[in-house]
Amino acid sequence: MYGRAKLSELTQRSENMMPRPCCHRAALSLDAGFCDECGTPLLRCAAYEECGGLVDEGGVCPVCVAPRLELTAQREAQVGGSMALPLLLENRARVGRPLFVRGAWTREGGNDWQPMELSFDRLDAGAGVPFTVRTEPLQRSGTHAVEIALALATRWRWREEVFAFATGVEIAVEAGGEVSVTQNITYDASAAQTGATIYAPLRLDARKREQTSPRGGTELLLARADRLERTLGLRGSQGTVIQREARLSWRGFARGHAPAEGPITTSDGSLVLGRSRTKMLGGSGDVRLLVQGADGELDEDASRSISRRHFSLSITGGRLLLHIESDLGAWIDGRHEPGGSIVELRDGSRFSPLPRSQAPLSLEVSWAAQYGSVEAIQLTRVPREGTSR
């Protein structure tokens, strides 16, 4: 576990991690993990090879996740009636990245969020889908507020990031009597029963409405709703969200077998754990897992039971996820998981790539949450590499 002083230091170091213009330029080099101009870690989107975007401080890739919500009609109603708000949800992603609508909710007058059934799920880039939000009967005149929340997801292979966005619509509720009907009927006695045409024009006087109604659609500002994400369990687990920029520190590894302390800055936002050499040593992996004998020497036979790409570790959806890529499976918290499984790691979790005994090699996970947010994670190799048992 981290001490308080260490935690404070790590927290301060993670503050200045917003991508800058120089960061986008530096990220073009896929080997770079930090910006050479400002030193900011390059937190690439999981789909960087398609979108080339860097995530912001909330973990959102602005290239992949660019929704736009538009109110396509007026916002005035009269007392006593309910109102249907015609909305248009657009995916303004510059690249062809689709968005997936995981849920929608509305709330009126401080009540609880009410789920809303939408008829669509996928929203391709550049596409817009209209839908309607119906309000409760408006009982009083004045300004009536309707809040709308949307859970939108972007997916890349097995990874899915869900974000909640919220916005509000203010409806001016008037007391009525706005539209007046005028009809003049011209009729005289000479026209009685002669088949003559009656001149009766009908006029609707709606000048006031025309003056106050906005022309065209109105864009509704979608703000990130992180509280709603925690409340609805869209991100994180048990109220704790692991930030994308959380710093990972590796303990107990030999020099060159684990990356330097810091956030995950690889091109796809995940770390590869396995038997292969690390990138620092000219290989393709990020963390090298080898088994040592009791005398501290390399146990080649036991090490061969570890795949070159045994795990991939990523922070996805506010959770620390371990994807077991090896067909041999792995031991997670005393339970053997088959290959292909995706397991969420928690504070105190312990996992091992060995098929039989966990004692020769395992990794322990620990972190400290602050206000429901985790910004530093420690992974400790047990036993420590290079020592004899």
């Binding site: 330029r25 930090f34 101009e37 080339g52 003049n184 000479s190 001149y199 810091g262 620092m280």
Partner: protein, 540 residues
Amino acid sequence: MAIKTLSLSSPALLAEYVHQSDLTGFFEQRLVAPPDHVAILVRNGELVDAYKGANFSIGGLFAGLRSKLTGSMHVRVLLADLKPFSLQSAFRAITKDKVEVAGVVTFELQLDPEKPLNIMGLVSPIGQLTREEILERFRPHLSDRVFEAVIGRVKAEELRGNTGLQDKLQGDVMREIERVAGDLGLIVRSVSVEWALSDAERDALKAAELDRQEEMLDGDLDRLRRRLERAAEATTVEVRTNVDLSKLKLESDDEVARLALTKEIEFIDTREAAQRRQELEALEHEIETLTKERLGRFENEQAEAGQRIDLARYGRALARVELEIDGMKQAHLAEMAKLGAFTESEIEERRRMLELDISERASRQSRAHIEELARIEREGERHSVELEETSKEGDTRREIAKTRAEADSRLAMMKAAAGMTPEQILAINAGFSPAVAEVLAEQARAGASGREETMAVMREMVQQASEARVSSEEQAREMFRMGMDGAARVAHGAGGKGQEPAGISASSAPTAATVECPTCGRENSAKAKFCVGCGGRLRV
């Protein structure tokens, strides 16, 4: 002194006033009331006493003189029979379940000698009291207060055959009669009731009678059946006996064979005769059916022919009548024409022409009104359109001014970019177009392998141009610096000079030098301020 025994003048009487002549006389008389009678002495209208089985003297000269001296004295004697007497009365009453029951009540009464005043009250004005009078006095009480009240409490089915209940009712009747009789000065000795049959009982009796008759008929039927059975059994025995006897009469086998052949021939003859009879009956039936069918068909044809004849006759009559009507109509028209009147078609034609004329005039008037109203409405709309156009004109003028200002700004920008390279111009335009920014990014990726240093400058320009978060002033300054830098380098290259032109910063010049990160040992560009591997600071 003479003794006179008082007695009632008729056995039918129960009480009677002694005749006045029996009480007056020259000599005093001794009157004797029999022991089963009571003599009630009334003097001067007051009851003196009632004497049962007593004797007393009355009348005589002394009494006559004393009455003359002391005043008049009036004496009457009422003799009443104290022997019990019986009365009978029939009654009817309705039970609780609305069944009428009837009966005869017999009650034995006796005048009460202890209540002489009541006895006197019973006596009729003619001075006699009979049993019938007693009964008449009783009858309404019997039907109303006794039987209706007592029998109305029970149901007929409970009454029928229930001796205990009947005894109780009898007791109730007796108690009620005693209550009524006691008020009248009578003693009830006994009451007996004979219940007549009610309707339900009569029905039950009738049903029982019918049951008995049915049983009797069943018995007769059984007896007859048994007799028939016995007769049948006896016949069978008799036939067998005959057969046996006939068999016994046969003396040889030939006779037996002949007898069998004869029987067989008789059997075959009988069967063939039956078949022929059936065939004959079938043929007779067929003949009869055909006869009926032909007869019916002939009758139908005859009726149809009659109808056709009638129709032809009626058709001729109708044609004749229509001819007559036409003739009359023509005569009527000729007569009307002679008188100079309009025909109906002429009247109809004139009426239609008049309606058309009215309609046409009304249409003309209506059209004029509509044209006038439409003109007024168009005038109003034209005023509205003019007002709206005036308001839109202001908006348009503002839009034009705004567009002109933007065009001027764009023109100034284009003038500033006149001396730049195509890549620099694209880089600036990338700030306005994301597509251009992507093109440049691709170019940057493509050129990264060959011309790393040159393309690094381009990347920086692209990113700065496309990044929306950079403030416009800062962005403009940077763009200008980069543009000028690139333009100077292009001019320098065109001039063939090997050195950098003055004013170009060293940071933007391409260089192949690298530095090693002291923290992680990674090779970095010499101009890098931070290590791209660990983020460690390389230079200040």
